[in-house]
């Protein structure tokens, strides 16, 4: 794991910095700022403008602009005399000096917290010397040649089939055969005994997920009490890849909200996952939100439905950070059970960068590595507190999950991967600057 000095452990570095955007990092990484030395009025005045601009910036999506997560810091930062200070007259230098805004832009170009969430960090190469390199070559041969043999070879002969039965593709292929052999008859033939049918289908889906996990040699540790089937509850988890769903499904049959995918994944979604009660959504449709919200509400109220699993991040993140949670899952008025998932990067990087690779390539990558090792923590169910708005509730749950899984929080909306930020954010900054200019203009 890339450990960087100063990211989360040195308030000293922050205390030295006058730059207005540092507190944004500090708030979310957890470092607290120390009170800076006394400054001139001029510096504090311009800093006040800069800080307020940044407090508005925050990357919050437009619906949560009221929650100004950066605001609490400003009072501890300024002394009481300066807060009461009357704004000064406007000079030419104030107008010409656009350096705070320029610095923001340059800072964003050099490094920004959003792009970091979706970066696959390549591990440090360890095969760099004369005795490690042949070992690595041997490992490649074993992983690609024995563990994941080319799938067409087993079609050729039965003896190959038997030897490949112990290998991953073989396991997976066999699993699919058994699954479909059992699922299709049950699905189409047993009519009328709905309850039995669903129970069997549920068990079959769980079995299929176990086969999937076995095909990547998954070593998964579950901590905490297993989910129970009750109405009025939803499960929320952080999202790294589509395999999150498979890992959780292995233990309990969940109903999940998914984006409809093309290809063989879409086919599986349509046939099998319908039976566990999944809800589909489409990111690109704007009216979709209300429709999905209604469906979710109906689902949680049904007694016989599988527990609902939601990934409130809305997109895959690289398992080092969490992006902002969407509030949809948190305004249902039912219990929210957080689940934290953390993959061990030593064995494989499970982050599915959907822009860079298709799901098939991603699965192939998993199947040609040694193992998929991860930890799953089922955390205590949370309820919305009186006086708490859904966004605050979402942040609180995100806190719990991030702390448990050792992830850093980032104040950006995951959908910014697909869409540009709303112009309202820029307008907010413009508004603050405009107001301060007008106010200082009044001064004589």
């Amino acid at each position: 794991m890339n450990q960087r000095v100063g990211t989360d452990s040195s308030p000293l570095r922050f205390a030295a910095c006058e730059s207005a955007s540092i507190p944004l990092f500090a708030t979310f990484i957890g470092a607290r700022r120390r009170a800076p030395p006394a400054r001139t009025h001029r510096q504090i005045g311009s800093q006040l403008v800069g800080r307020r601009i940044l407090a508005a910036m925050g990357g919050l999506d437009s619906s949560s602009m009221e929650t100004d997560l950066d605001r609490p810091n400003i009072e501890e930062y300024l002394t009481t005399e300066t807060i009461r200070e009357v704004p000064k007259k406007l000079h030419l230098s104030d107008l010409l000096d656009i350096s705070p805004t320029l610095t923001e832009a340059a800072g964003a170009i050099v490094d920004d917290s959003f792009t970091r969430c979706f970066k696959s960090n390549s591990p440090e190469p360890w095969n760099w010397n004369i005795y490690l390199f042949p070992l690595w070559c041997l490992g490649v041969v074993v992983r690609y040649g024995i563990l994941f043999p080319a799938s067409f070879s087993w079609l050729v002969s039965l003896s190959n089939l038997i030897s490949c039965m112990f290998c991953r593709v073989g396991v997976l292929a066999l699993g699919w055969i058994v699954f479909f052999a059992a699922f299709l008859p049950v699905h189409f033939l047993i009519r009328g005994h709905d309850k039995w049918r669903r129970k069997i289908e549920r068990k079959l889906v769980e079995m299929m997920c176990s086969v999937f996990v076995a095909s990547w040699t998954g070593v998964i540790k579950y901590h905490g009490p297993r989910p129970s089937r009750r109405p009025q509850q939803v499960f929320v988890a952080n999202h790294t890849s589509m395999i999150d769903f498979i890992i959780l499904e292995q233990m309990t049959a969940f109903a999940v909200i998914m984006q409809k995918h093309p290809g063989w994944v879409g086919f599986i979604q349509k046939t099998i996952l319908e039976s566990v009660g999944c809800i589909w959504f489409n990111r690109t449709e704007s009216k979709d939100r209300e429709v999905v919200a209604t469906k979710i509400r109906e689902h949680t109220q049904g007694v016989d439905n599988n527990p609902l699993l939601i990934f409130p991040e809305g997109t895959c993140v690289n398992n080092h950070y969490t992006v902002m949670f969407k509030k949809g899952a948190f305004e249902l008025g039912c219990a929210v059970c957080p689940v934290a998932i953390k993959y061990n990067k030593i064995f494989v990087d499970a982050f599915w960068n959907s822009k860079k690779q298709s799901f098939t390539t991603h699965l192939a990558q998993l199947m040609t590595s040694w193992a998929v090792v991860c930890d799953v923590w089922y955390l205590e169910p949370q309820y919305i507190r009186p006086g708490e708005i859904p966004i605050e509730f979402a942040e609180r749950v995100r806190d719990m999950i991030s702390v448990r899984a050792g992830l850093k929080k980032v104040p950006w909306d995951g959908y910014l991967k697909y869409f540009r930020p709303s112009p309202k954010l820029t307008e907010r900054k413009q508004q603050i600057f405009a107001e301060s200019v007008l106010k200082r203009l009044e001064e004589k």
């Binding site: 960087r4 207005a20 010409l96 350096s99 950006w412 820029t426 413009q430």
Partner: protein
Amino acid sequence: MGNTSSMLTQYDIEEVQEHCNHAFSQQEIVSLYHRFCQLDRNSSGFITGDEFLSVPEFAVNPLSQRLLRMLDGLNFKEFVAFLSAFSPRISLQQKIEFLFKVYDFNSNGKVTFDDILSVLRDLTGSFISEQQRQEVITRVLEEAGYRRDSSLVLSDFMRVRMYYCFQYLYYKLSFRSLFTD
């Protein structure tokens, strides 16, 4: 620091360092190169406007369009030269030159009333009326001893006291460069 700087040789690094007047150390140039490659998704050798706008923190900046026109089509060497104004090792004079360049849109060496007006428009949007903007700039220019129709040159910018605010630039970038992989 990873060892994926295999695409950047020592000669390249020194050449870039020369070009930006030693604004960055060699390690910082390597970090900037990783960042450049990360932003340049289609590996075309330069970062398009769209790729810059995919960084949300940049896209919400009111001056993003203005900066995009300066940044569009720059290769890595020019990219580093652009960012050199933000480095702590660059003199105040050179920083003010950069600021002048941002204002001087048509690069004719003069910043007129309209140039200042257009920057103020970017920064304030629809929250001040055009008339108020013009009034602000006229008043401020007159108070500093200029007329509305006078155009400012670089020496005028130097004379205006902007010392304190440039300190933002120093800390921000030296802090950030520690983060880039």
